[in-house]
């Protein structure tokens, strides 16, 4: 177990290094100039002065070494080119919790409702409730989130005045964004849960349990439920990492100050320290989440032994 984690961590670090390097050169190669985005318009020689200040006049590989050295020795993601005076670390610290709050609440609803609906559908296979759940689930996946968000804002926020239309602060501000965020996820979890429950229901151990006279409710609880959760665990890992990234559309439509907004703006501004810092942050979370999933796998499914698995 210890060796496994060690090995995965080593791999994770290599992956991270590659991601940082690739992102650095990609963003440097991207057209557009952070200085132009920062100052909007100014004569060329005035821009040179600014570029020199941020070290952007040096060749790319040299900037790469400076960046890596700084990152490894101090863990500092550097100062944003656009958000003058604010380090990327500050921005992550200030804004990640906001994305995370919405994300975690949404994820909670996604998993609980998704698992519940999926189970109900599977256990009532081909009955009305199954069809109903399946169709609503597919419908929920089908509507693009910006359309769904616009509809909610228009009706619930504007027409009926139940919730604020936008903004951040009170409990009421959570309702619409969480609903938009959760809806697609509920659908995918329900779908996966249904499939996985159906396949578990036909496993030999379930049939054996039933044959031995185990009551249906007990079979569901003891055998089916736990085993059908396995694919859900796989899905949840990356989803947890993803909640910090926030959802750009949701944050933009509802004017929520999460990380997702910063990320998209940083990309379009080619604010390379910001893009890199956020990418690294997301990548670290992602790698950790994947390792956790592998460990959890062993916990949920006794048949899989980590030592043997890759």
């Amino acid at each position: 177990m210890g060796r496994f984690i060690l090995k995965r961590t080593a791999y994770g670090l290599i992956t991270l290094f590659l991601i940082i390097t690739a992102t650095f050169f990609l963003i440097s190669a991207a057209p557009g100039d952070p200085i132009a985005a920062k100052v909007e318009v100014m004569p060329e020689r005035a821009q040179e002065v600014i570029r020199a200040k941020y070290g952007l006049d040096q060749p790319t590989y040299q900037r790469y070494f400076i960046y890596m050295k700084n990152l490894i020795t101090t863990g500092d993601f550097g100062e944003s080119v656009i958000y003058t005076g604010r380090s990327v670390n500050d921005i992550i610290r200030d804004n990640a919790p906001i994305s995370a709050k919405i994300g975690i609440i949404a994820l909670f609803f996604q998993i609980t409702l998704g698992v519940l609906l999926g189970m109900i559908a599977a256990l009532n296979r081909d009955k009305f409730s199954d069809h109903f759940i399946r169709v609503s689930v597919v419908l929920a996946i089908c509507v693009p989130s910006f359309v769904f968000a616009a509809l909610l804002q228009y009706f619930i926020g504007f027409k009926w005045g139940i919730t604020p239309i936008f903004g951040w602060g009170s409990f009421k501000h959570y309702i619409l964004p969480v609903a938009v965020y959760a809806i697609g996820g509920i659908a995918s979890y329900a779908k996966f849960m249904r499939n996985s429950t159906l396949s578990v229901m036909n496993e030999d151990y379930v049939l054996t349990a039933r044959a031995k006279g185990c009551r249906r409710a007990r079979t569901v609880r003891k055998h089916i439920f736990r085993n059908s959760l396995i694919p859900i665990v796989t899905m949840t890992g990356p989803a947890i990492a993803g909640i910090f990234a926030g959802s750009f559309i949701i944050e933009r439509l509802f004017s929520i100050p999460g990380l997702g907004q910063y990320y998209v703006k940083a990309v379009s501004d080619t604010d390379y320290t910001m893009v890199l810092g956020l990418t690294i942050f997301f990548a670290i979370l992602y790698v950790i989440a994947l390792i956790l999933v592998d460990i959890l796998y062993g916990v949920v499914d006794p048949r899989i032994k980590i030592a043997k698995g890759e």
């Binding site: 909007e40 003058t84 500050d90 936008f166 080619t270």
Partner: protein, 574 residues
């Protein structure tokens, strides 16, 4: 003294081409206000709080480094410079004393001496002195600081550019000095009549804190010293900023609001909904449907219409194999209907431009258009002269040795942004040029900083551009095409040769011509070269409609002067 001040042409510093937003004002009064004038003091509400929204966040509070439009707008409230440009109720503008209680201008107009008022204080109680301004300007002239507005003073203040671009002068050598604690003196290269306008580009920092906080200066509300009428109480970058009245402000007794709240709302329709729901007190609306919504509310909102002084135009790359020919350029410039453009794309909320100058630009106190008797509507005259732009295009194609069939011609149109507006306006242009000229247009949708990048590399055919001048004088617009120091210098515009040289000469000449009529004429000649040979094709300038809740009184601004929050007060809010 006052006379000199009065004709100085000034504008609030707009922070770039894209944000032009203020203009001459027509207050469409929904009645009642005049009745109340006498009883203002009686009717003033207990809660004096004003809430507005912007579509982007304030990035930072360091006036030397943070100069985006939202930054400038905020710095205007929390940091006060020597003078202040304010709009009056009749739609005019006046230059008011601010930190400086008065100023002297030397006979030849090159030396300005400002007298700083005794009671000007920073919000921590430290007096504002002449040294603060000297320090601020020296920092700006220091290339290591990387001040984003510094270039504005290049060629204006003595030795400023030489220090900034490291040409043998040090920041200490610039023509700004403190005579004593209360007097600061600026020495100019030439008698620039719009110098007072430029002062807004340099809001003050204080040496002790600027050095103590270093790169952290302005990064949070605790790392800035303020001297404006309001100071920051709380700041949540992408949500809102709350400002409170600065009790140390020299004119605090006349500031009526206790609180100003600045919210960030990205989507225009959300902002409109917020105004209707009473969550904010003012909104600038562009969509006709949004306007309808608010007009339906009767006199709940006051309407302010302003012609923006930032022209929009298409720039042709004069190095391009087609566009090096003036006839081809002109054919494109003449080959679309500007009235229709304004109606179809902007729903009438703009003025079509046949000249680079929006109708609100002045030379001295008189509108430029009036001074040149409408001669500046160059496109209109040319359209009469060349009734068939397609024939003109074919002529040009033959001159350059191309196939005279325009349908074989393919040019790229670079958009400035990837919004729906950029998309539909370029689609519209595509259709017009295809119908009128028969050419093939490829729309290159790109972020605007990428477009500037492409323009910088000369990798474009037609670019979508706009410019908000830094002061109310035609030079503020014409000089962007100055072949050497303009933003669109020859490297970007591709404009070289005798016309470009003559254009440069005309601008130089105008800046040395004190006679206003003569100067306007020189500007007209310059414009004839720029617009008349199709280097650029002006399209329109916006007319903005602002809706203010009726209980928010004295919300006044125009294209040359931003809102003066000191004057606003709340009366009759339910």
């Amino acid at each position: 003294m006052k006379k000199i001040i009065a004709f100085l042409i000034i504008g609030v510093l707009l922070s770039g081409a894209l944000i032009g937003c203020k203009s001459d004002t027509t207050i469409v009064d929904n009645g009642e206000e005049s009745l109340e004038q006498g009883e203002i003091e009686m009717k003033i509400d207990k809660e004096q709080k004003f809430v507005f929204s912007d579509n982007s966040a304030v990035i930072g509070l360091n006036p030397l480094l943070n100069t985006t439009a939202p930054d400038n707008g905020l710095h205007d409230i929390i940091l006060e410079t020597l003078v202040r440009r304010v709009a009056d109720e009749d739609g005019g503008t006046i230059m008011e004393p601010a930190v400086a209680e008065r100023w002297d201008i030397s006979q030849d107009g090159t030396v300005y001496t400002f007298f700083i008022r005794e009671n000007a204080l920073w919000h921590d109680g430290v007096p504002v002195t002449a040294h603060d301004f000297v320090y601020t300007y020296q920092q700006m002239a220091n290339p290591k600081v990387g001040s984003t507005n510094a270039w504005l003073f290049d060629g204006i203040i003595v030795n400023f550019g030489e220090a900034l671009y490291d040409k043998g002068k040090k920041p200490e050598d610039i023509g700004v000095r403190a005579i004593d604690d209360r007097r600061v003196e600026f020495t100019l290269v030439k008698p620039y009549s719009y110098f007072l306008d430029l002062l807004n580009g340099a809001r003050p920092v204080r040496q002790d804190k600027f050095e103590e906080w270093g790169s952290e200066y302005g990064s949070s509300m605790n790392h800035v010293v303020m001297n404006g009428p309001f100071i920051i109480e709380s700041w949540d970058q992408n949500v809102q900023m709350t400002l409170v009245k600065n009790e140390k402000y020299w004119d605090a007794d006349n500031v009526k609001l206790d609180k100003v709240v600045r919210k960030v709302i990205t989507e225009p329709q959300v902002a409109v909904q917020a105004l209707l729901a009473g969550e904010i007190d003012v909104v600038r609306a562009r969509e006709p449907e949004h306007k309808m919504l608010m007009e339906r509310e009767g006199n709940r909102f006051r309407t302010i219409e302003t012609i923006v002084r930032a022209p929009e135009f298409y720039g042709f790359n004069a190095q391009n194999k087609y566009f090096k020919n003036p006839k081809i350029r002109l054919a494109f410039s003449l080959g679309f209907d500007r009235e229709k453009y304004v109606n179809d794309i902007i729903d009438g909320a703009a003025v079509p431009l046949y000249s680079l100058m929006p109708p609100v630009m002045s030379v001295g106190e008189t509108l430029y258009t009036n001074m040149v008797k409408g001669e500046n509507e160059i496109i209109k005259h040319l359209q009469k002269q060349y009734t068939d732009p397609k024939a003109l295009l074919i002529e040009g194609l033959i001159e350059e040795g191309f196939d005279p069939d325009p349908s074989k011609m393919e040019v790229r149109l670079a958009t400035r942004g990837t919004s729906e507006f950029s998309k539909r306006s370029s689609e519209w242009m595509l259709q017009q040029w295809r119908e009128n000229l028969g050419v093939t247009i490829i729309i290159d949708m790109m972020e605007w900083n990428i477009m500037w990048d492409r323009v910088g590399e000369g990798d474009y055919d037609i670019s979508t551009a706009g410019w908000g001048p830094y002061y109310n004088d035609p030079n503020g617009l014409l000089s962007i095409y100055h072949p050497e120091i303009g933003y669109f210098d020859s490297a970007k515009s591709g404009w070289v040769g005798p016309d470009a040289d003559r254009f440069k000469e005309l601008l130089e000449l105008a800046s040395n011509t004190p006679d206003l009529d003569e100067r306007a004429q020189l500007y007209l000649d310059a414009e004839k070269l720029l617009v008349g040979t199709g280097i650029i094709s002006p399209t329109y300038t916006r007319v903005d409609t602002t809706y203010v809740a009726d209980y928010a009184k004295d919300y006044i601004f125009n294209t040359h002067a931003s809102v003066d929050y000191r004057k606003i007060y709340i009366s009759g809010k339910k």
